[in-house]
Symmetry: C3
Subunit: 309 residues, 3 copies
C-alpha cells in the first residue's frame, strides 16, 4: 500500500493510516535482520544518497544498514569534504546530486527546515534524518514501533517525555506522532527548557516529574546537553539530575509495567542512572533495533515495488 506522501520530512506529512502502514511493514521487515542471510533484493538497482551534513553515527549507520539489507546502492556525503566547503549553496549541491539520478536522498542537517527546502527543490524522494531543532520523524516512528511492541497497543497510553523539550527534534516529532495516534503525551523538564505553547502540539506540561510517574505507561528521557547549562538554562547537570534524573528510587512510585526509553546517546548518571538504563524496564536497545526495521519500511514504501516508482 502506498503512502500518501512522497517525502518524510515531518510527522505532519503522514496520515494515521500511513503510520499504521509503516509500523506493519517495519514489523514484517524486522525479521530479515534476524536471518543468517540478512538481505532481500527489494531495492536492487536503487540509488540512495545519505547526506549527513551534521555528524551522526547511529542514525547514519541505521539508514546505511537498512539500505544494504534491501540491496540498494548507497553513497554517503558528510559535511567535511563536500563542495559546500567551497561555498556552494545547499540547493545547488542537492540539485547536482539529483542530476545523478538518485531514487532517494536522506538528509541530516543542523538547520531546521533544510530537508523541506530540499524536497521543494528536487524530484527525488527525501527522508529527513533530523533537522536542527525541528523534527526527526524516523526516530518518532521507531519509538512508536517499540511502544507498540512492548504494550501491544497504542491508543490511550500515557507517555511522558522528559528533558530539554525546547531544543529536541526527537521530542517534537514524538509529540506530533503520539498525539496523532491517540497517546496522552506529557512533557516535563526545567521551565526554561519547555517551549511556551507546546500544548498546541498536543502535549500536556507538568514540571514536577515525580508527581506524574505513577500515571505513566512509558517514560522517555532525552539527552541533556552540558552546553545548555553554560547558556544558563539550568544551573548544572547535578541540579538537573536531582529533579529530572531517573533512578531506581524514583521508579518505586511507578507502575509495574512502566517502560523506559531514550533515543541515545545516554548520559549515564545524568538523565538516567546506569541501573535504570540497563534494567528490565529499559527498551533502549530495542529502539535501535527497530530503527533499522522502520527505515527499511520507509525506503520500501517510498521507492519499492508497491510505491509506483
Amino acid at each position: 500500500m502506498r503512502l500518501s506522501t512522497r517525502n518524510i520530512i515531518s510527522i505532519n506529512d503522514l496520515s494515521k493510516k500511513d503510520v499504521l502502514n509503516i509500523l506493519q511493514t517495519a514489523e514484517s521487515f524486522k525479521e530479515i535482520s534476524e536471518r543468517p542471510i540478512k538481505k532481500v533484493p527489494t531495492l536492487r538497482g536503487k540509488t540512495v544518497v545519505n547526506c549527513f551534513f551534521e555528524d551522526s553515527t547511529r542514525t547514519r549507520l541505521s539508514f546505511e544498514i537498512a539500505e544494504k539489507r534491501l540491496s540498494a546502492d548507497t553513497v554517503n556525503i558528510s559535511k567535511s569534504g563536500s563542495a559546500m566547503q567551497k561555498g556552494e549553496n545547499l540547493i545547488d549541491t542537492m540539485k547536482n546530486i539529483e542530476a545523478m539520478k538518485p531514487d532517494i536522498v536522506v538528509i541530516r542537517h543542523s538547520i531546521s527546515g533544510a530537508p523541506q527546502m530540499i524536497a521543494d527543490s528536487i524530484d527525488s524522494h527525501v527522508i529527513n534524518a533530523g533537522d536542527g531543532i525541528h523534527e526527526h520523524p524516523t526516530q518518532a516512528l521507531l519509538d512508536l514501533m517499540t511502544i507498540k511492541e512492548v504494550k501491544n497497543r497504542i491508543q490511550g497510553l500515557t507517555v511522558a517525555i522528559v528533558g530539554d523539550i525546547l531544543h529536541s527534534r526527537v521530542a517534537r516529532s514524538n509529540i506530533l506522532l503520539m498525539h496523532k495516534m491517540g497517546i496522552n503525551v506529557i512533557v516535563s523538564g526545567p521551565k526554561t527548557l519547555i517551549p511556551p505553547g507546546i500544548e498546541n502540539l498536543g502535549a500536556r506540561v507538568c514540571y514536577n516529574l515525580k508527581e506524574i510517574i505513577p500515571t505513566l505507561d512509558v517514560l522517555m528521557l532525552l539527552r541533556i546537553q552540558r552546553e545548555r547549562a553554560d547558556e544558563n538554562l539550568f544551573p548544572n547537570l547535578r541540579e538537573y539530575s536531582r529533579y529530572f534524573g531517573v533512578n531506581e528510587e524514583m521508579l518505586k512510585q511507578a507502575r509495574e509495567d512502566l517502560t523506559i526509553m531514550h533515543p541515545g546517546p545516554v548520559n549515564r548518571g545524568v538523565e538516567i542512572t546506569p541501573e535504570v538504563a540497563d534494567g528490565p524496564r529499559s527498551v533502549i536497545l530495542n529502539q535501535v533495533t527497530n530503527g533499522v526495521a522502520v527505515r527499511m519500511a520507509l525506503l520500501y514504501l517510498l521507492i519499492g515495488e508497491g510505491s509506483g516508482e
Copy 2:
C-alpha cells in the same frame, strides 16, 4: 572496442577515435540511470579504489555512483585518515593499494602530475579525477558529451571558456579535447588569469568577452576563486563580474541557440547570474548527469569485457 590507452591521465592519452568511442559508449550507458533498476552486472567482481586526496563531492559521488551502477566493488580513501598523514610517500601508499589487487584506481590530487607518477609506478589502470592545475579529463569528456547532445555535432563549433584559465584544470583539459575534435576554442578572462602561450594548446585568446559573444555556440564559465583576488590577480569579485560575469543583458547579443555551461560549483552572481544559470540556455545539470554516463563508459572500456582484462 578497446581504447588505445590503459590510463586516462590527460586528454593527450586519447586518440580522436578513442574520444568518439567513449562518447558513443557513454550515450548508451546514460539510459541505465533512467531505468527503475539502475544497475547492470558489467563490472561485477572488479575492485575500484577511489583515492580523493583532495576534497570533492560531485566528482567522487559521480564516480562512485557510476561504479555501483556497473556492480563494481568500491572502496574510498580520503586525505584525512590516510597513512600519508604518517609521512608515507604517495608512491608507497599507491603500491600498497595496488598489492591489494584493485582493477582500477581513481585519483584526485592537489599536485599536478601526481596521477601520471602513480600510473608510472603501478600496474592497475589509473583515471585522473583532477590533478592540481594540470588536467581533469573526465570533466572535459562529459562537457563534450553534453555539447554533442545539445548541438548534435562537434566539428566546427565555436566555444568560449571564460574565467581563471591560468589555474583551471577544467579549462586545460577542455581546450585540449575541443581542439582535438575540431572545435574553435576561444579563452577569455582578466589578462592576469590567461597563461602566456595558451595558444599553443589550440585556443585563441580574446580579453573582451562582449566582443565574441555573438559568434559563440557555447559559452563555458569557470568558477572564480575569491582567493585569486587576495593574490591581486584581479581587483575584486564585483570588478570581475562587471567584465566577465554573464547576465541576461549581455546575452542579448548572443545567438538564439547559445548554450551556457559551467563545471560547478557555481558562484551565483559572480561569474553567472542566477537567471542565466537556471535559464533555458543552461545545461549545467545535464553536464552532471552526463558525468555519471561518461565515467561508466571509461570504467567499462578500461576494465570491462571488451577491454581484454
Copy 3:
C-alpha cells in the same frame, strides 16, 4: 573446520591448529584476488561493521576489500563524526551498533584492551584490527603466511624483529605467534625500546643487530616513530639508522636467502634503505597482498558456512 575461538583479539585466542587452519584457508582464498571476477558469494547477507576509531588506510582498506570480495555488506565508522564525540562511552556505542545486528565488528582503537572489553560486552564476533600497544593479530597472521610462502616451512626458522619493540603491537603479536609456531624469535633495537621481560613472551634479546644478521632466515623491521626521539628514547633518527637501519652493506653478512619484511608504512632511509625495501629480498608488498587473503579467511572461518553461525 571451525576455529576454537569466536573472536580474534589476541594471538593467545588461537591454538596451533587454528593458526594452521587460518593459513590454509587464506592460501585457498588468495587466488580469488587474482581472478578476473574477484568475488565469491560466501558472506552474502552478512553485515560487517568496520570501526576504525584510530586512523588507518591500509588495514581498513584490506578488511573492506576482503569483506567485499566475500560479498558481505560493509559499513564504516571512524573516530570523527561518531557519537563518541558527544561523550558517549565506547561500550554504549558498541551496544548500539550490536542492536543493529551486525555479524562481525572489526575494531581498531588507540586504547590497549578496547577490543577485548567490547568482545566481553557484545554478542557479535569481534576482530581486533590493532589496539594501542597491545596486539595486531591479523598483521601477525599475514606475516606468518608470507613467511611460510617464501620459506615453505615455519618450524625452526630464525626471525629477528627490529625496532621499537616497546610500543609495537605488531611486534607483540608476531612474537606470540612465531613462538607458538616454533620459530626462534630474536628482538633487537635500542635498549630503551626493548621492554624488560620480553623474554617471557618467547623472544631472545640481542642489542647488536649486526651480530645476529648471519643467523637469520627473516629480518622484520618496524616503523620507528620520530616522536620517540622527542621522548628521549633514542638520540635521533640518524643515530637510530646508524645502528639499526638496514642497508646493502649490512646485508653482505646475511644468508643468501634472508627475507626482509616490514609492516609499513616504511620510513625510507631510516629503518631501511630504498635499495633494500625495493630489493629482491623484500616481501613487503607480498605481506599486503596476503593481508587481504588472511582477512578473508578469518571472516569466513568466524561467520561463513562452516562456522556454525
